[in-house]
């Protein structure tokens, strides 16, 4: 039905049309109806919307969606509800433009450092674009913090963004999780935490009806949302960081470790000296996770021996047998 319209011939034309549409809607004192838009918006002297009315309509609807996709808020309103039922459109300057509470140069510097977090991810373009606009607000550049830390996470991935959106809208998610075995999970996501260098999802497992923690790097592929938005309630007293802390503190223990004098310096710097004996020193060292502390002790090979607790001693003993016997 629609003939090939000239205005769709190149991306340049479409860009011009979108910019002129933004400007027309921004400059409108009153809501503009579609027919007014078709009349006034031009590209290089010719009407921007051409062809049959249906194709103009379709083109305009698409443009409107594109602008909204760019985050531009298009307001819809009637000209006069008594006489005219045709909707009108406009863009309010207060909604088009970035109006931030005042940012300090230091805050702007912190934002540009933080943005390095997304370096390889799909969100890198979004953050860079956001930064350019934040850098167009007339805030003087601050270079005193150029030495600030850079962020490099191998695990900054798209699931982080998808899960944050799901939590935002209380939408359940499903994904393949590589735990003890690979299994499919259906989760009501409660929160995300960054702990010890890794991102974790906390949420209620539909099968166990209990809150569980999932390491994001062990999620295979992308998570997908299932069901409607707002399909569960996050308990009001739930705090992701409290949950992680409670899991950790259950395991807070002190190990008694015998260390060959003059060695294991990093290890013993975290502990308290208990006694000396024959070329060795005994230390009490606090630890959270048995497995990761065992790995720390094993790093020192024959220079460190765990005396207690027996669970830790036995675990190390067993690990050494495995490696020595192999």
């Amino acid at each position: 039905m629609a003939s090939n319209t000239k205005s769709e011939s190149s991306a340049g034309d479409k860009t011009e049309r979108l910019i002129n549409l933004v400007l027309a809607l921004l400059s409108a004192k009153k809501f503009l109806t579609k027919s007014q838009i078709f009349e006034v918006v031009k590209v290089r002297g010719e009407a921007a919307y051409q062809g049959a009315i249906e194709s103009k309509d379709r083109m305009f609807e698409r443009d409107k969606d594109d602008l909204r996709g760019m985050g531009i808020h298009i307001e819809v309103g009637g000209l006069d509800p008594l006489f005219d039922d045709e909707a009108g459109y406009r863009i309010k300057e207060s909604q088009y433009a970035l109006h931030m509470p005042e940012l300090s140069p230091e805050e702007l510097a912190a934002l540009s450092i933080a943005a390095t977090f997304w370096r390889d991810s799909a969100l890198s373009r979004d953050t860079q674009s956001a930064l350019r606009r934040l850098n167009s607000l007339g805030i003087p550049a601050d270079t005193t913090n150029v030495g600030l830390i850079e962020l490099r996470y191998d695990t900054g991935d798209q699931n982080l963004e998808l899960l944050n959106e799901a939590i935002d809208s209380s939408t359940k998610v499903s994904f393949d999780y590589s735990g003890q075995q690979l299994s499919k999970k259906l989760i009501s996501p409660y929160g995300l935490v960054l702990w010890n260098g890794f991102w974790y999802l906390l949420g209620e497992d539909a099968e166990l009806t209990e809150v569980r923690m999932f390491k994001l790097v062990r999620i295979v592929g992308l998570v997908s949302t299932t069901g409607k938005k707002g399909s569960y309630l996050i308990p009001t007293d739930f705090s992701a960081s409290h949950y992680v802390k409670s899991v950790m503190n259950e395991d807070q223990q002190v190990a008694r470790v015998k260390v060959r004098n003059g060695t294991s310096i990093t290890l013993t710097s975290q502990g308290r000296e208990v006694s000396l004996a024959d070329g060795w020193t005994i230390f009490d060292i606090p630890f959270d996770s048995l497995v990761s502390f065992a790995r720390t002790i094993l790093w020192y090979g024959a220079d460190a021996e765990v005396l207690s607790p027996s669970s830790l001693r036995d675990y190390i003993h067993k690990t050494l047998i495995e490696v020595a016997g192999g």
Binding site: A11, K14, T15, I19, L23, A24, S27, V41, K42, G45, D66, G69, M70, E93, A97, E107, A115, T116, F117, W118, D126, T127, Q128, S129, A130, R132, R133, L137, V146, G147, L148, E150, L151, R152, Y153, D154, T155, E161, N164, Q180, G191, V193, F198, V217, S241, V244, K245, M248, I265, S269, W299, G301, A302, H317, T319, L320, I321, V323, A324, G326
Partner: protein, 310 residues
Amino acid sequence: MAETAIDRTKRALDLIPYVLERPGISIQDLAKDFAVSEKQIRADLDLLFVCGLPGYSPLELIDISTDDDFVDVLEPQLLDHPRNLTRREVVALVIALEALAASRNSSDPLRTMITQLQRKLQSILDAPVSKPEVVNTEADPHGVLTAIEKALSLNCELEVEYLSAKSDSRTVRRIAPSRIYMQNGSGYLQAWCYNSEGERTFRIDRIVRADLQENPQSSENHVGSGREVAQSIIVSIRAGAREFVERHQGICTVVSVTGEETILRVDVEDTNWLLRTLIGYGSAARIEEPAEIATQLSVMAHEALALYTR
């Protein structure tokens, strides 16, 4: 991949306020800042030049001058203010700020600044976004980060006291810091080390003291890095040792996957580091090749085992 009209529209709209803040900016700098070619920036400016308000008389068009490749916006029409941030952009920045917070101690003033900044970003949205959380792990136990950052921005040297796990020693070194970064939960400082006359990487949590030196970094070229040559070790990994791969993605290449076993090539400069790390994974990690490295691991385990079998 061809650029969409949407991406181009965004950039064109954003160019105007960006140039207004930087009158006379060069095409070259604009290309760099917007991560596109100079040709593309020229095309964008040409396009903006013919856009404007309905009526499209000379008074209603956007006016830009590009004399000698230096750009000025003479008439922005209504585009003098930058485009608002989208919800997606706010989310991305809020999450990134949370990751930045994780690099600081809970008492660090930057933490307070980050919380305020997150609030400001949230305030431009109709409804706040949910925010991930950082569980406080003290990334900087000895409070040396501030001194390091100061040294970097003033281009000064540092005297540091360092606990080396690798050589199991406590040393005092004079260093010229070049870069700091957080990688998977640990902070690292890259610096020229005068004591070892080479580029070295230090774990920030193992620097127990960092003192700023008054003299600026000497301009002599830090060349002749004492870096060792990387060696490839073939390691087979089972589920229990997956964390090894997750923590050290940069040096691991998957060779093959058979059933529950993954064969990896691990490129290391220091085999001692690899042995000390792998011993902690027990039977979940096994060195396949070269045989002498596998033997070294077994010997190391035998020696330690003697402590437990007395």
